[in-house]
């Protein structure tokens, strides 16, 4: 079963609006990462948030992490058509030597011009 689950599965917005995607996970994590995938391409790393961090910013991206609720959100502000892509959260489980990055099924974001 997937460690991370994104919500919603698909999101369609107008250019200039903000987009919020959520990720829930099941077990304790070391860190949580967000990746973006354009159609037919590989994944590109966006941002990493450690388990002891609550919020992180990178340009128009804002990520929050709530370890008590085992959830994270990715906010893209002032969206652009070029932000159209699938967005995945991925987790590294805490403890031991498990460095396996486990991905959710993704949120397909469509930004309409």
């Amino acid at each position: 079963s997937q460690q991370g689950e994104e919500d919603p599965q698909a999101l369609s917005i107008q250019e200039g609006e903000n987009a919020t995607m959520n990720c829930s996970y099941k077990t304790s994590i070391n860190n949580l990462q967000w990746y973006r995938q354009n159609s037919g391409r590989g994944l590109v790393h966006l941002i990493l948030i450690r388990s002891n961090e609550r919020e992180k910013h990178s340009g128009r991206l804002r990520v929050t992490l709530d370890t008590s609720k085992k959830s994270s959100s990715l906010l893209i502000t002032a969206s652009r058509a070029a932000d159209t892509a699938s967005y995945f959260c991925a987790t590294i489980l805490s403890g031991g030597s498990n460095y396996k990055l486990t991905f959710g099924k993704g949120t397909l974001l469509t930004v309409n011009p």
């Binding site: 997937q2 590989g42 396996k100 990055l101």
Partner: protein, 115 residues
């Protein structure tokens, strides 16, 4: 600099044939991952290499799947006696080191179609 390179980008094969997929990681990256992505699905972990350590093969779906990493660099994923359910995009990723706080760098994948 050069990113992760995968070849071929597309592969069509007949059911029952063997296929080899190649991954050239970023130079100096010690960690290498293979993932499989089926249509509309997330990424399924297949195998992980780290330096000279024994690989983590826990994600390989059957004994028809195997992978090697020669000289700590190039990796090949081999699928023997391919089945239609093997059709997917196979993604390779590398990472500078083993630490868990190291992001993965992905190639563009090999799209495998088994007819």
């Amino acid at each position: 600099g050069a990113g992760v390179s995968q070849s071929p980008s597309n592969k069509v094969t007949e059911k029952g044939k063997d296929v080899e997929l190649r991954c050239d990681p970023i130079s100096g990256h010690t960690a290498l991952y293979w993932y499989r992505q089926s249509l509309g699905q997330g990424l399924e972990f297949l195998i992980y290499f780290q330096g000279n350590s024994a690989p983590d093969k826990s994600g390989l779906p059957s004994d028809r799947f195997s992978a090697e990493r020669t000289g700590g660099s190039v990796s090949t994923l081999t699928i023997q006696r391919t089945q239609q359910e093997d059709s997917a995009v196979y993604l390779c990723a590398s990472s500078p080191h083993q630490a868990p706080n190291s992001p993965l760098h992905f190639g563009n994948g090999t799209r495998l179609t088994v007819t």
